[in-house]
């Protein structure tokens, strides 16, 4: 189906072809230990975890 006329002939906002990113959901959900992976990420972004910073 055609796009609405208002979209045709306008300058776009994306600007360049988009590259496919890694498939985030699949990286976290399937696999041998999906729950463990999710928990690790959750722990990493939990305030107060106190990871060492090396600058």
């Amino acid at each position: 189906m055609p796009l609405r006329a208002a979209r045709v002939g306008r300058v776009g906002v994306i600007g360049h072809p988009v590259a496919k990113t890694a498939v985030v959901a699949k990286a976290v959900s399937p696999g041998p230990s999906p729950v463990a992976k999710t928990a690790v990420v959750a722990a990493a972004v939990t305030p107060g975890r106190g990871r060492r910073r090396r600058i």
Binding site: R4, R10, V13, I14, V18, A22, A27
Partner: protein
């Protein structure tokens, strides 16, 4: 659509969510969660398109209004700003695999707007932003764990 003064506009983001051939399972949950975010004032949905890429790479774009029985999404459809232009369709579809369908969602982060406005009023300029992939977080943690293990 309600007009938002430019100075009060929150950051605008987009996602392209691909559904490989035969793997879509639309049961209304996505629409429900999207509406919940909108109703809560967390985001304002600016635009939605549905793209399909045929096996030969040809692209077809559908407006949300082209879908029959939109259900609760009808209320969002009436507020869309049609920000995306025709040339954006090809750019966005470049990320898609042949044979897939994808939903493109553009939204304003209303939750961030007051902070962004305050930062602008304070003289701040956004010089970088981005998203940290979960894979990068995992890799960082793994590297730390490996280093700790080797140091023992």
């Amino acid at each position: 659509m309600t007009q938002t003064p430019l100075d009060e506009l929150g950051p605008v983001d987009y996602v392209v969510v691909e559904f490989p051939a035969g793997e879509s399972n639309f049961d209304g949950e996505m629409a429900k969660e999207l509406l919940a975010l909108s109703d809560a004032g967390t985001i304002r949905v600016i635009d939605i398109l549905i793209l399909t890429k045929d096996a030969d790479g040809s692209i077809e774009a559908m407006e949300l209004s082209d879908i029959e029985n939109l259900g609760p999404l009808q209320q969002l459809e009436a507020e869309l700003a049609e920000l995306l232009a025709e040339e954006d369709v090809a750019h966005l579809a470049a990320a898609m695999d042949p044979g897939s369908t994808a939903g493109v969602l553009i939204w304003e982060n209303l939750w961030a707007a007051p902070f962004a406005s305050a930062a602008r009023r304070a003289g701040g300029q956004l010089i970088a932003d981005g998203r940290i992939p979960i894979q990068a977080i995992l890799a960082s943690i793994q590297a730390d764990d490996n280093e700790t293990t080797q140091g023992e």
